[in-house]
């Protein structure tokens, strides 16, 4: 039950900042309006394929909500700060694996962001936009499963980024690089079938579509739950990479004196 204890503690700690986060939700919703305006501008004079203008508005709006599950975990799972302070040596000594420890804490963060960021922005969009609702209870359940997979992939990616802090003081840049690639290749702003050939190919063979494209397509009823199988394979592969990274970290870490 260590998992639940760690996740719950992170969730409760976040509750203190609810008011501030509600303001942040407004900023996030405005970002969504900016992206929606782009598609409204494009869709006014052209066909938007199987999505149509209303479908693209729903696509972009739902992706904006999804960001709070897969787009904004704690940067590098907070490892950069613990490397700088030397705390990482203590964390590696704990009787629980570092990956499991940080992953459990991060699920608390994601659960908080789902309740206090995803849901309020989703509710706002339902109110002010023609945001499509899930077609059925099973579609909603499949979307939640796809979102959970996207959250896990995001945790693994940020664990690997955090691990890089042992090699460079500038590992934060990897967060920005990952975010930029995620915006481009995950289908966040533009569905991946509309990417030019080489980018579509890279995206198709990467984990990025499982962060946005797959959950949103399932939500809109354009794809079935079968698509999440690929995401599960990526979860397994990234978990192995995280375990390997931890092994490398153990060789690299230097304990500070004092």
């Amino acid at each position: 039950m260590l998992f639940l204890t760690l996740a719950r503690k992170t969730y409760i700690r976040n509750l203190q900042f609810r008011a501030s986060h509600l303001i942040q939700n407004l900023a996030s919703a405005i970002f969504g309006f900016i992206y929606i305006s782009i598609w409204t501008g494009i869709g006014e004079s052209r066909s938007l394929g199987e999505y149509g203008l209303a479908g693209m508005i729903s696509y972009v709006a739902f992706n904006q909500c999804c960001l709070w599950v897969s787009g904004f975990p704690t940067n590098g799972l907070g490892m950069e700060a613990s490397v700088r302070s030397g705390q990482i040596a203590m964390d590696l000594m704990r009787p629980v694996h570092l990956f499991y420890h940080l992953m459990s804490k991060e699920w608390g963060q994601i659960a908080y962001q789902f309740v206090y960021k995803f849901i309020p922005i989703y509710a706002l969009y339902l109110w002010v936009l023609p945001l499509q609702r899930p077609a059925s209870v099973s579609a909603a359940a499949a979307t939640l499963l796809a979102l959970a997979i996207s959250g896990y992939i995001a945790i693994c990616l940020h664990y690997l980024i955090g691990a890089a802090a042992l090699w460079t003081t500038e590992s934060t840049w990897l967060v920005y690089v990952n975010y930029a690639f995620s915006m481009l290749l995950s289908g966040f702003l533009i569905p991946i079938e509309w990417l030019p050939g080489p980018l579509a190919w890279i995206s198709a063979y990467s984990f990025y579509p499982y962060l946005h494209y797959v959950p949103t397509r399932i939500y809109l009823g354009m794809s079935t739950v079968d698509l999440v199988a690929g995401g599960l394979l990526w979860c397994a592969a990234l978990t192995l990479l995280c375990l390997l990274a931890t092994r490398l970290m153990r060789h690299r870490v230097e304990v500070q004196g004092g």
């Binding site: 942040q24 840049w173 702003l189 533009i190």
Partner: protein
């Protein structure tokens, strides 16, 4: 003049300090350029697929993007840590700057000097490519170069002013990242696209409240489209300078309200 000399000395000291970690310096430079390149790729991918957004072609949007990138790169190069004032307020590190025999804003601006080499190079390359194509199409001539440079300069001053005002609120709020999300990040994202695609209320905010439209869109209306008066360039500079003046007054008030976190 002595301030400029002091600024140069402090910047050189900051560069020397950063160059003690050469790998990190080049790593951050390359990563910053990569982030910007991917950001532009996203804009380009949308426009390549759909040709134009409300009458703005990919080349014209590239021009808007390049002006904004260069203005931002200049502002963040010259005054990098103004954006990070929150960090100083939370840690109490502003106390150290208060003890120095230089104006506190000048000291802050020279901390962690970071020449945004990657962004300058990338923004410059996109600008040259877009302007060359627009000249080839006969939409603009060589005479567009001077107003473009003016627009970039005005944009840098304007972004600095917006950044300064946002950061200064930290003297009252301590945490400024949420506000900066609105005033810097969201505004920057919005300004990468032509303002005409946004609903009226958003255009009003981006012109009257956070006047980022003066950084690239309004000058481009004159330079590229000929749809605005040449006075728009002077207007952009006037808005930028007025906002900077306001920002400096606000800063002075903020510093007088500063309470250290103690130790």
């Amino acid at each position: 003049m002595s301030w400029l000399r002091m600024y140069r000395i402090l910047v050189l000291a900051s560069i020397r300090s950063r160059m003690q970690y050469r790998f990190n310096f080049w790593f951050s430079t390359i990563m910053s350029a990569l982030v910007n390149a991917v950001e532009f790729l996203m804009l380009a991918v949308v426009l390549l697929r759909f040709d134009h957004i409300q009458g703005w072609t990919i080349v014209e949007c590239g021009y808007l993007y390049a002006i904004l990138t260069l203005s931002r790169a200049i502002y963040r190069s010259i005054a990098s840590d103004v954006h990070h004032l929150e960090r100083y307020l939370l840690s109490g590190d502003l106390d150290k700057l208060l003890l120095r025999p230089v104006p506190i804003l000048l000291a802050l601006m020279t901390q962690n000097f970071n020449l945004r080499f990657g962004e300058l190079l990338q923004g410059g390359a996109i600008l040259v490519l877009c302007m060359a194509e627009l000249m080839r199409q006969g939409q603009i001539g060589w005479t567009a170069i001077a107003p473009t440079l003016l627009a970039i300069g005005g944009g840098a001053v304007l972004l600095y002013a917006i950044g300064l005002i946002s950061a200064t609120t930290g003297f009252w709020l301590t945490r400024t990242s949420v506000l900066q999300n609105f005033t810097e990040d969201a505004a920057k994202t919005a300004a990468q696209y032509p303002m005409s695609i946004y609903p009226g209320w958003l255009q009003g905010i981006l012109t009257g409240v956070i006047p980022i439209a003066f950084a690239n869109y309004l000058p481009a209306l004159y330079i590229l489209k000929g749809e605005a008066s040449p006075l728009v360039l002077a207007g952009s500079w006037a808005v930028a300078l007025a906002l900077t003046g306001l920002g400096l007054l606000f800063w002075r008030t903020g510093v007088s309200r500063y309470h250290s976190t103690g130790s």
